[in-house]
């Protein structure tokens, strides 16, 4: 039917041009994603993807579960597929094209199933198709019943060769798909989105694609770069940096959700992209059914990443004790989870003030919510002459009438002022 004829039938028809290169790119991305199911994937343009799954049957717990996994995964990515299973690649492709979803595992059943297929499935050149149709051949089975040498003489050797490949009488090697070294994917949104949280849905599809890509190569991504493209404004970029490489789509989606809550869009988003270049080997995990889902270390990292993504990297710290006399230098912030050092001195307060606080005095008495009484133990700390930050102080434990305990010191230099430095909480 011509376009004008179609418009004549339906005035509201909208016509979109077919983008062959986009189709090809999509097929390649799906091939990279499908690598998680088998190492042997072969995209067959325009619309077929061949997976050699014999070797993966056991790993995925049988053909039915494998098929269900592929079907569900594709549905989550937003694709609908017809899954046909056969002992030969060509046979499977023809069966899928014919519209069925058979699961055929032996050769005899394959002959029966292929015989029933209409001739159009072979996708023969028009002349050959017409010649066969003129001979009264309607189905593949009719073709197989014809004498082989006669068929070759009339229609050339190619037809028989294809039939033999489909039936497994001839080898049919396929070039394996080689995934690109880095991940790059884009998704054109069906309608522009102006709500950042609504973007989670299309972006999740990209994350699922990334997850399949990473799993197939036993890699994890450590840095994800999202691009939110607008029609005029400059692209909004989101970067997720992870503590540990991950290929877990669920975890990545949760991180992204936190990040999206803070995004302010200058304009509606028309297209989203995801690139991940920092790929690292992911920690291998045995497929043990009874093993806990995540190791304790992984679980700790997951929380860390969630907190860091929402609050910022500088809002999450670990602690380290440093062997140093000066109290304000006897500790420092570290990355969470790093070994924390050893304590050298006892009798230290649990809270330290960021800066010593000068204490008020009243008639020779120190005042902090009442008159402070000092303990009799004095600890002299005199140190740091070598770096110009030297201190000379006498530290005491002090208590006010309301029962609170403090760590106070008196400067041994200039003026002898008293300061509050910590709280024994």
């Amino acid at each position: 039917m011509t376009v004008s004829a179609a418009h004549g039938l339906m005035a509201s028809l909208r016509v979109h041009g077919r983008d062959v290169s986009a189709e090809r790119a999509t097929l390649d991305r799906l091939a990279a994603w499908a690598g998680q199911f088998t190492s042997m994937v072969s995209p067959t343009p325009p619309q077929a993807l061949l997976l050699e799954v014999e070797g993966s049957r056991r790993l995925f717990g049988g053909l039915d579960r494998l098929r269900e996994g592929v079907r569900q995964g594709l549905a989550e990515l937003g694709y609908h597929a017809r899954l046909a299973l056969a002992p030969t690649p060509l046979g499977a492709a023809w069966l899928a094209r014919a519209g069925g979803e058979p699961c055929i595992t032996d050769r005899d059943a394959l002959v029966g199933a292929l015989s029933a297929l209409p001739l159009a499935c072979l996708e023969l050149p028009g002349k050959q198709h017409d010649a066969l149709a003129a001979m009264g051949v309607r189905r593949l089975g009719d073709c197989l019943r014809l004498p082989r040498d006669g068929l070759t003489r009339r229609l050339g050797p190619e037809l028989l060769r294809r039939l033999d490949r489909a039936l497994g009488r001839h080898p049919d090697p396929r070039p394996p798909f080689v995934a690109p070294p880095v991940f790059n994917a884009r998704l054109l949104l069906p309608a522009p989105l102006d709500n950042a949280e609504a973007l989670l849905f299309p972006l999740r599809r990209l994350l699922l694609e990334l997850s399949g890509f990473l799993k197939s190569r036993a890699l994890g991504a450590q840095s994800l770069r999202f691009g939110l493209h607008h029609s005029k404004a400059a692209t909004t970029e989101l970067v997720l940096d992870l503590v540990a490489p991950s290929c877990d789509a669920q975890h990545l989606t949760a991180l992204l959700r936190e990040r999206l809550e803070r995004v302010i869009l200058p304009e509606p988003v028309e297209e989203v992209t995801l690139a991940s270049t920092a790929l690292r080997p992911a920690a291998a995990r045995n497929l043990d059914f009874f093993a806990p889902e995540r190791s304790p270390r992984e679980a700790r990292v997951l929380l860390l990443e969630r907190l860091q993504v929402r609050l910022g990297r500088q809002a999450v710290h670990g602690l380290e004790a440093v062997a140093e006399h000066r109290p304000e230098r006897a500790w420092r912030y570290t990355d969470p989870g790093t070994p924390g050092g050893k304590a050298v001195f006892s009798n230290r307060p649990l809270w330290l003030l960021p800066e010593p606080l000068k204490l008020g005095m009243q008639q020779d008495r120190l005042i902090l919510d009442g008159v402070l009484s000092l303990g009799c133990e004095r600890e002299r700390i005199e140190s740091g002459w070598w770096d110009g930050q030297d201190v000379a102080r006498d530290y005491f434990i002090a208590r006010n009438p309301r029962g609170a305990c403090f760590w106070v010191f008196r400067e041994l230099t200039a003026g002898g002022d008293w300061f509050l430095h910590g709280i024994f909480s």
């Binding site: 679980a299 700790r300 997951l302 929380l303 609050l311 790093t338 020779d364 305990c405």
Partner: protein, 225 residues
Amino acid sequence: MSLQDLMQRADLWRGDTAPPFAASLPTGFPALDAVLPGGGWPQRALTEILLPHEGIGELRLLLPALARLSRGDRWLALVAPPHIPYAPALASAGVELSRVLLVHPRASGDGLWAVEQSLRAGSCAAVLAWPATLDSRALRRLQLAAEAGGSWGVLFGHERLAASSSPAALRLRLAPRASGLDIHILKRRGGWPAGPVSLEVDHALAMPAPAASGDRGIYPRQPSA
């Protein structure tokens, strides 16, 4: 609504399946363990600690339990602590510093979020927080998060909150004593309010005696210049 639907609800309390004394953590103070249900801090639940002002031993009360938890494989999270948690003091109390996680949210709404996430994540053994205010809806969320994540949530608050109700499994009010703490149990699961229990929480420290006589203190002296 059918019975089946009711059974699915998380907020339905079922007497036959909720062992109130399960999984508790010894406090390190036998006198306190004796009055707490299950003989220790309630795990998978919120504990509220109310006090008149800081510096009376409220953290030292938790230290033995925190030190023990830090030797496990989960975080000890401190969300928005009021001062710097001093690493040398924590380490000398036996706390494994590599398990300490400090979270400093800047926006106020993020504090509650961080506490809830940490409780729910399942990778925090304990979550300590110093919320300025908490309504009972927020507290209920945190209580559910603590149950879901199997985490011990500790909230410090001012003692004026003692009058309001709270879904926390354990509520304590602390009062300083001459040497140590009086602990009043305002609420405990599976028991009546009780108290006070008197504890010596600072045996390791040489604390000054309270200023009873008033004029005994010879410090501070002005430096004899």
